[in-house]
Every structure is written in structure tokens, then in C-alpha cells.
């Protein structure tokens, strides 16, 4: 990082926060602090929804994933437009007309207090776990890449987020998200243009795309079906639909974004914007990763992108042989790639077939050497299941991007972390206040008291996220488990909302029992099968609905009218 990079980074971050705070003036009532007085325009909500969903890991990890595995990750988002249409048609008008602050408040109107309470607790557990991870994951990567202590990167992001979220409430969060998405778009476009410009003069953009495809990096659609495979057309369409229904329909961190809309139409438009824009955006990010792969065809990449782990294995006896094998494979791949591009240009089919075979053989050899290096990290105590995917893009950025652009891309990572984290902290505070504190602890206090309590709850969850992030390294491989745990709760929440919207005869006790059964089914799938986590939402939702329907029709007394308790 040079002076110009620092100027770009600091200017970006300060302007984002200042603009968010400026737009949040007057957030002095609960309605304004938590829901922006229901005045937000669709485009602000749309960008806020996009920013909240896209954490820094999305950019760091997705580009790395494309470099290693190709673009098939984009299929994960194929269910999103379907989910958005369903949510726009059913959930948005229901939430708006009920004038609720949280999705779970709606469940008490529809079922009873215990169902609302269970859903709120499930949300707090699930989102609370990921709040720390949202800050921790990019903090550790930035720390390694920039050479700063982890505490510094954690504190910069944590303190900034907590400050504007506590002071400005959801208005500050939303308007900051708008700015953050602008910085993110700008940074991504700059990264793609730069990587293409940095390719050798003999390699055109068309050649680069051809070489990426020949190495299997442009596999955007794979039609094979496998229960254990996260990313194929079918898991994306079906599993993805259920996942995004859960995320955008039942997760307060997203629901709260579109509850701030000034009308049903504005809220719907914000979600439909995401339905249309999200897949191309992910495609674009993955394409950057594929182009970084092509860049490294002609520039020697390191054996491992995480320098600390590379240093760790360099003293091992096995290292020289692995490094030599990797270097030889890279040299062969470089020659084959240039020859393949030339043969493709000249329309030499026989030469193209020959060079393609050599190119793929060299790639397979390089992959093999890289896998050996990753195993050596494990053997050297570097952590089980080590992968350096998250370090690929930022290594490229810090080594090869021109001065100024490095600062911009680092600002993208900070911005993405802050937008995702502020949304999480804000929603955790809202559920804590509305569904726990105001419902069960202090039911009739002044508006001023609840605004103060909201700020305290925001501060609490912000401090929790930063502390959790600070302890992240000590959690070690549990971090991976925390990520999986997040996917264990959505299915039963979704099932409960499906019952609320789609089955009028089902009442509170049946829904409550269904949620418990749904959680049991998801945990059984997690513990005793190897089914991909993307299917947990389908399983959980299905079990919740079936059990609740069985109770409803086997025990008719469960169909008595619900109590109309409100917070």
C-alpha cells in the first residue's frame, strides 16, 4: 500500500460513513431508527439488500473459487429470482399490511407468542454466530495480505460499523450500503479491466476467454445431478430457491431492508431489482476470477497464495520436490497456452487438439502439485482441510494492480464487510428489542426509552461481533463449523412462514411442534448423512409443514382461532 492507495482507501471509507450519518439525521423515534419511518425509495433498499447479502468473503472467495474450480458457483443463484417472485407476491404485502417491525412479530399475529419466541431465538442464534464471522473472515485475509495485525483490521472494520450503526440506525445502514455498492461496482470493474490489460500483448480478450474455457474455468452451467454437489443446475434451482426464500423471506437482516419501503410497490421493486441484477453480478465476479487464472498462465503464480503457510512448509523435506514439480508444470502450461492460443488463431485444428491436450495435462500436473502443497500444510500443523482460495484475488490485487487501484479494491473489501456486518448488527438489535425486550421485559415504556434500548442493543451486538472476530483464530477449525451451523436453522424458519402464509387452518402449537421436528430432521441430515447443506432448507421446510399439517388434522382442537396478542 502506497500513499495514493491510503488516500483512496481512507477517502472511500470516510465518505461512506459520513454520507450515511448525514442521511440518517432525525432518527429519533423507534419507527425511524429501526424502519427509517418507512420512507425509503426502492433503489436505496435494492442496493442495501444487495450490499447486505454480499459480504467481503463473496468477493475474496468467489474470485478464488472461479480460479480453482471455474464459474459453476453462479448456479447457486439460479433460485434467487424464483424466490424473489414468491416473496414479492406473498410475504411483502403481508408484512407491510401487518405494520410489523420484524418478520417474527408477524408470527405472533398469525400463531402465538411461543412460535414468535422460538423463531426469534433461532434467528438470534444463527445470525449472531455469523455476525462475528462476517468481520473475522476478511480481517484475517486482509491481515495476511497487508501484513497488518489481525486486531488492527478487525478494529478498523468493527469500530467503524458499530459507530454509524449505533448513531444512525437503519437509515445510516441503508444509505451507507448504497455508497458501499457504488465503491464495490467501481472496484470490480477496475479489477476486470486491469487484469485484461495486464495480459501479454499476444493474447487478445478472445484468446483469454478461450484459454479459460479450455481449462474448464467457464463451466457456468453443469447439468449433472448429485445430492452431494452444491453447485449444479438442479441444486441451484431447487435448493437455491428454498435457501433464498429462507434468507429473503425469514431472515430479519434482509426482511428489515424491505420493511423500510414507503409502499408495497417500492419494496417489491427493490427485491425484483436483485432478482434481475444478482446473477449477472455474480457472473461478473466469477469471470474476474477466470481472467485472473488466465493472467497466471503467463506469470508464474506462487505454489501457495498464503505466504505464511508457504513459509511454514518451505523447511519440510518434501517441499523442494513439490516446488520443482509445480514449477515444471507451470512452465509446460505457459508454453502450451501460448501455442494453443496461436493454433486457435490460425485455425489449425490438429495443432489445437495437440496443444489442448498438453495444456490440460500441464494443468492437471499443476493441480496435483498444489494439492500436495496443501496437504503438506496440514501435515505441518497449518489446519485441517487447508485451502488458499481466499488469498488468490487479493494476492493478485496487491502485487499487480497499479497504485491507487489497490486502495480502491481494499476499500471494496472493507465496504463489503461493513455493509454485511451493519445489516446483521442492526437486525439483531431490532429482534432483541422488538421480539424480546419490548415483548417480554418492558412492554409499556416511552418511545425515547426504546430508542435508547435499540442503541444499547446495537452496541451490544456490535461489541459481540468484534469480540467474536477477535477470538476467531482461537476457534480454529470451528470457524468452518460455524459456517455450516448457519445453514442448519433456515429450513425450519421457512417452514413456519410457509405455514403462516399458505395453511390457514394451522395454529400455533402445530407450527411450534413442526419447527422443533424440522430442526431435528435437519440436524439428523447434518449428523448422519452426507447430503449437501443446500438441501437442508428443503428437508427442514418439508418436515415442518408435514408435521404441522399432521397435528392439525389429527388433533382438531389445534385449529381453534389464535390469540391476537401484539407487542
Amino acid at each position: 500500500m502506497r500513499t495514493a492507495d491510503w488516500i483512496v482507501l481512507v477517502t472511500s471509507l470516510v465518505s461512506i460513513v459520513a454520507y450515511g450519518l448525514y442521511r440518517s439525521r432525525g432518527s429519533n423515534t423507534v419507527d425511524r431508527y429501526l424502519l427509517a419511518g418507512r420512507t425509503m425509495p426502492w433503489y436505496a433498499m435494492a442496493l442495501s439488500i444487495m450490499a447486505t447479502q454480499a459480504s467481503a468473503v463473496t468477493f475474496i472467495s468467489t474470485t478464488g473459487q472461479s480460479y480453482i474450480d471455474g464459474m459453476r458457483f453462479v448456479q447457486f443463484y439460479f433460485g434467487l429470482p424464483i424466490a424473489m417472485v414468491i416473496i414479492c407476491a406473498i410475504a411483502v404485502p403481508a408484512f407491510h399490511r401487518a405494520k410489523v417491525y420484524t418478520a417474527y412479530e408477524y408470527l405472533e399475529n398469525r400463531f402465538d407468542a411461543k412460535t414468535r419466541g422460538l423463531a426469534s431465538v433461532i434467528f438470534l442464534m444463527q445470525r449472531g454466530l455469523s455476525a462475528g464471522l462476517t468481520i473475522y473472515a476478511p480481517a484475517i485475509v486482509l491481515s495476511v495480505i497487508l501484513g497488518w495485525p489481525e486486531r488492527v483490521t478487525t478494529m478498523i472494520m468493527g469500530v467503524t460499523v458499530v459507530t454509524y450503526t449505533v448513531l444512525g440506525g437503519i437509515k445510516a445502514v441503508t444509505w451507507s450500503d448504497v455508497q458501499q455498492m457504488c465503491v464495490i461496482f467501481l472496484g470490480l470493474i477496475a479489477a476486470l479491466v486491469t487484469v485484461i490489460v495486464l495480459l501479454p500483448h499476444s493474447i487478445s480478450f478472445g484468446d483469454a476467454v478461450y484459454l479459460a474455457g479450455a481449462a474448464g474455468r467457464l463451466n457456468a452451467v453443469t447439468t449433472n445431478f448429485d445430492w452431494k454437489d452444491n453447485y449444479n443446475l438442479w441444486s441451484g434451482l431447487l435448493g437455491g430457491t428454498f435457501l433464498f426464500l429462507s434468507y429473503f423471506g425469514c431472515d430479519q437482516s434482509q426482511v428489515q431492508r424491505y420493511l423500510t419501503g414507503k409502499s408495497i410497490t417500492e419494496s417489491r421493486l427493490s427485491l425484483l431489482f436483485n432478482a434481475v441484477a444478482k446473477i449477472p453480478m455474480q457472473f461478473f465476479i466469477l469471470f474476474i476470477g477466470a481472467m485472473v487464472f488466465v493472467f497466471y498462465l503467463f506469470v508464474q503464480p506462487p505454489l501457495l497464495f498464503e505466504r505464511a503457510q508457504l513459509t511454514r512448509i518451505q523447511s519440510r523435506a518434501e517441499y523442494p520436490a513439490i516446488a520443482r514439480r509445480f514449477d515444471d508444470a507451470m512452465a509446460h502450461r505457459r508454453v502450451a497456452a501460448a501455442a494453443l492460443a496461436a493454433a486457435h488463431h490460425e485455425g489449425d485444428s490438429a495443432g489445437e487438439a495437440r496443444e489442448l491436450s498438453a495444456y490440460r495435462a500441464a494443468q492437471a500436473e499443476a493441480n496435483d502439485a498444489h494439492t500436495s502443497a496443501e496437504r503438506l500444510v496440514e501435515l505441518s500443523g497449518g489446519g485441517k482441510g487447508f485451502k488458499d482460495t481466499n488469498y488468490i484475488f487479493l494476492t493478485f490485487v496487491t502485487r499487480y494492480l497499479p497504485v491507487g487501484l489497490v486502495g480502491l479494491v481494499i476499500a471494496v473489501i472493507f465496504a463489503a464487510t461493513m455493509s454485511a456486518s451493519s445489516g446483521e448488527i442492526n437486525s439483531l438489535a431490532t429482534v432483541t428489542l422488538v421480539d424480546i425486550y419490548r415483548r417480554h421485559i418492558r412492554r409499556h415504556a416511552s418511545d425515547h426509552h426504546y430508542v435508547l434500548a435499540s442503541r444499547v442493543a446495537t452496541l451490544f451486538w456490535g461489541a459481540y461481533a468484534v469480540l467474536f472476530a477477535g477470538w476467531g483464530k482461537r476457534l480454529g477449525s470451528l470457524i468452518v463449523a460455524v459456517n455450516v451451523v448457519g445453514s442448519l436453522f433456515y429450513g425450519s424458519l421457512l417452514g413456519c412462514f410457509v405455514l403462516a402464509f399458505g395453511f390457514r387452518r394451522v395454529r400455533g402449537t402445530a407450527a411450534f411442534a413442526g419447527m422443533i421436528a424440522g430442526e431435528a430432521a435437519i440436524f439428523s441430515a447434518f449428523l448422519f448423512t452426507s447430503i449437501s447443506w443446500l438441501w437442508y432448507n428443503v428437508i427442514g421446510c418439508g418436515v415442518v409443514v408435514l408435521v404441522a399439517l399432521a397435528i392439525t388434522y389429527l388433533k382438531p382442537e389445534q385449529t381453534a382461532p389464535p390469540a391476537r396478542a401484539r407487542a
Binding site: 479459460a212 474448464g216 467457464l218 457456468a220 409502499s263 408495497i264 410497490t265 446473477i279 449477472p280
Partner: protein
């Protein structure tokens, strides 16, 4: 509880048509990606 008015969308006249347009768009995107994959495999 006052019911909020469900306005018409700013384009295509009815929400059902807007939803259908989004789903048609999804089908077009998947088809385009499939062709892209086949073209560069």
C-alpha cells in the same frame, strides 16, 4: 390495522406480468449461460 394499498407496478400493468417477465428472464439467462459453457468447454 389499515390495509395498505397495493399499487400497480410502474411497468407491464400488473404484478403477475412483472413476475412472469422475471421468470422468463431467468430462463433466458440460464440458456445463455448454458450456450456460453458449451461454446467454451
Amino acid at each position: 390495522m389499515s390495509a395498505e394499498r397495493d399499487d400497480a407496478p410502474p411497468f407491464l400493468g400488473e404484478w403477475r406480468r412483472v413476475y412472469l417477465a422475471v421468470l422468463v428472464y431467468l430462463a433466458v439467462v440460464i440458456s445463455a449461460f448454458y450456450l456460453f459453457t458449451q461454446a467454451y468447454r
